[in-house]
């Protein structure tokens, strides 16, 4: 797609480098305390305090407050962990992979995507630690010189996961911050109050747009993007291996790593759409995040829905192609047992409904896009529920079959992390430029002077 179509040409009102900078920095610097923001942050703040209480009670009372027990020992914590980390991964796909592919429309979305990655990764990172049961011993996962003279089990996918998440969270924060530095410098220079000047001045670290600062910047950013793209694929593949590595019914499958990466794409695109559609209206970003962006994101969401659909088909295929009796028992329990509605909700929300996006009319209908995306976010949670709970419910020995229900505290923790994520996003909208200004400048300049073409 050419850059011409990225930003709706609106004649005289089309943004210029200067007006775009003023528009975007004014959102932060001349914050108008909109009512929607105050109301939502009050609500999400409340949810975040629910999380604090839920974690506090967990630390006090122990992991028995959750619904996990034999045989289902992986419950909400792992479901929600996988769910969040998938959402996070989608953001990195948009920011890093599309940067490498020089997809220009990513420019006005990448800040939202990266910020989403950051907070989703933080939400994800909380769960494995809580799930440890003795969370105060989490540092045992580090290979540190201990008086016991022992090491963590390096051959275990669960330990790989610890390293993957650690690397991913640190890298996402640094990549996000590096991308933010030139824009923080812009805010520092536009700031009108002393407090703003000091706040953004310190965060900008003295970035002034010097030639050498830019030269190294381009080199560093490009290289880091090239590292982030395989990193995110490795992270989610390792999450897949957490399951596939165990000889458990329904998990022991070679398709898990790519299957999980497909799921990450789907939930990432859905969450970006879910954030971007209201934000562009509320913050008046329509000339930067256009209908065209929603259209492209919807197509990508449709594509990833098809990829996930393929993985679901392969799931069925491998069950019946193999002659494992227990796999079939487990699968039949999945499609018409107690929890069949969850399996079918997954299929409907992730595969069936997104097919609406084949229609152009659906892709320009913002309400519909939001509903489809919301459906996918819920559907992906159901998918993880199916994966995590169903398999261990129906293991090899019928005498070990059991059941699982989330308790109040499971739900409180889940909703608490939703609150934490949204609070983080709302604060980001308030305090940082939510569109990458310095990258938009290159895009706008190109649009104004198309090579060898008069406007």
């Amino acid at each position: 797609m050419s850059e011409m179509s990225v930003i709706a040409s609106r004649g005289a009102t089309a943004p210029t480098v200067g007006s775009m900078t003023d528009d975007i920095s004014a959102i932060t610097l001349h914050w108008r305390r909109p009512l929607w923001w105050l109301l939502t942050i009050a609500a999400t703040g409340l949810l975040t305090s629910v999380l604090v209480v839920a974690i506090g009670w967990l630390f006090y009372a122990g992991i028995g407050i959750w619904g996990i027990d034999w045989p289902v020992v992986w419950g909400f914590a792992i479901i929600s962990y996988v769910w969040w980390i998938a959402i996070a991964s989608g953001g990195t796909f948009i920011s890093a992979l599309f940067y490498l592919l020089q997809v220009e429309w990513r420019t006005s979305l990448n800040r939202v995507a990266e910020t989403m990655t950051l907070f989703a990764a933080v939400c994800a990172g909380i769960y494995p630690i809580l799930h440890l049961g003795r969370p105060w011993l989490f540092y045992w996962l580090f290979p540190y010189p201990s008086t016991m003279g022992i090491w963590p089990q390096f051959r275990s996918p669960l330990l790989w996961d610890f390293f993957a998440i650690l690397t991913y969270v640190i890298s996402s924060i640094l990549f996000w911050y590096l991308g933010l530095v030139p824009d923080l410098a812009t805010l520092r220079d536009r700031a009108t109050t002393r407090r703003q000047q000091v706040f953004y001045g310190v965060l900008a670290l003295g970035f002034r747009g010097e030639d050498r600062q830019w030269r190294h910047y381009r080199a560093a950013y490009g290289v880091l993007a090239a590292i982030m793209a395989p990193l995110v694929i490795s992270v989610h593949s390792i999450v897949g291996l957490d399951f596939a590595g165990a000889a458990t019914v329904g998990w022991h499958s070679t398709q898990f790593p790519p299957f999980f990466v497909f799921g990450a794409l789907l939930s990432g695109f859905a969450m970006v759409l879910l954030l971007v559609v209201p934000l562009r209206r509320l913050l008046r970003l329509e000339s930067y995040i256009t209908q065209r962006h929603l259209d492209v994101l919807s197509r990508l969401m449709l594509m990833s829905s098809l990829l996930v659909g393929y993985a679901y088909i392969m799931d069925v295929f491998s069950v019946f192609y193999s002659s494992e009796h227990v796999e079939r028992v487990s699968f039949m329990a999945k499609i018409h047992g107690d929890y069949a509605p969850i399996y079918w909700a997954t299929i409907v929300l992730n595969i069936a409904i997104p097919q609406l996006l084949w229609l152009r009319r659906a892709r320009v209908n913002e309400l519909l896009i939001v509903l489809v995306s919301l459906g996918i976010i819920v559907g992906m949670w159901c998918e993880r529920y199916t994966i995590v709970v169903m398999s261990v419910r129906r293991s090899h020995l019928p005498s070990a079959w059991g059941n699982y229900h989330g308790t109040f505290w499971d739900w409180a923790t889940l909703w608490g992390t939703v609150g934490l994520f949204l609070t983080g996003m709302l604060l980001a909208v308030r305090y940082i430029p939510i569109v990458s200004m310095f990258e938009m400048r290159s895009l706008l300049q190109k649009r104004r002077t198309p090579p060898g073409d008069s406007p």
Partner: protein, 168 residues
């Protein structure tokens, strides 16, 4: 520091034109301040090599740690499987390589540019603030008053938005 001037132009082509003219009188003490990277500048930087070396080192150290732990420090015989089962060490090797590369890339960037540098005397000037919006600036410094006058004449001809004296 040597005396000099800070000149602001309206757009990128004007600045690029001025740079060419200034370089043609062999003035090379030029420092530009721009809202985005200049297209003419090739991104020459040691950072990619630094990142590569750091990444490889991180991966090597990570791999060595796992081999050491499983063969020398605390060998664990699990059903007679090899102690140094390298394929199982690859994911952590990769992640530690990436971690080292990213840390080197981001902190290397700050070190190379001597950042954080919260104050610079150039901040006293009015026009420098435009460098982060839509101002295209070049700072010319030279000890030779004649050359500075020459430079001033060149840029004045190009109708800049402003010319300011740099603080010494």
């Amino acid at each position: 520091m040597s005396p000099g001037i800070l000149v602001m132009f309206e757009d990128e082509p004007a600045l690029v034109g001025a740079l060419e003219r200034l370089r043609s009188i062999s003035l090379h003490e030029l420092r530009t301040y721009t809202p985005k990277p200049l297209e003419i500048e090739p991104p020459r930087s040691p950072l990619p090599v630094i990142v590569l070396v750091a990444g490889l080192l991180g991966a090597a150290v990570g791999f060595a740690m796992q081999v050491y732990a499983n063969t020398a420090s605390y060998p664990l015989d699990i059903g007679g499987r090899p102690e140094s089962s390298w394929p199982a060490f690859i994911p952590i090797t990769f992640e530690l390589g990436v971690l080292a590369a990213v840390l080197a890339g981001v902190f290397g960037y700050f070190v190379i540019n001597r950042m954080p540098r919260l104050y610079d005397r150039i901040d006293e000037l009015e026009s420098i603030r435009e460098a982060s919006r839509d101002g295209w600036l070049v700072a010319v410094r030279t000890d030779d008053p004649e050359r500075l006058a020459q430079a001033r004449a060149i840029v004045e001809e190009l109708r800049p938005i402003s010319i300011e004296e740099l603080p010494e």
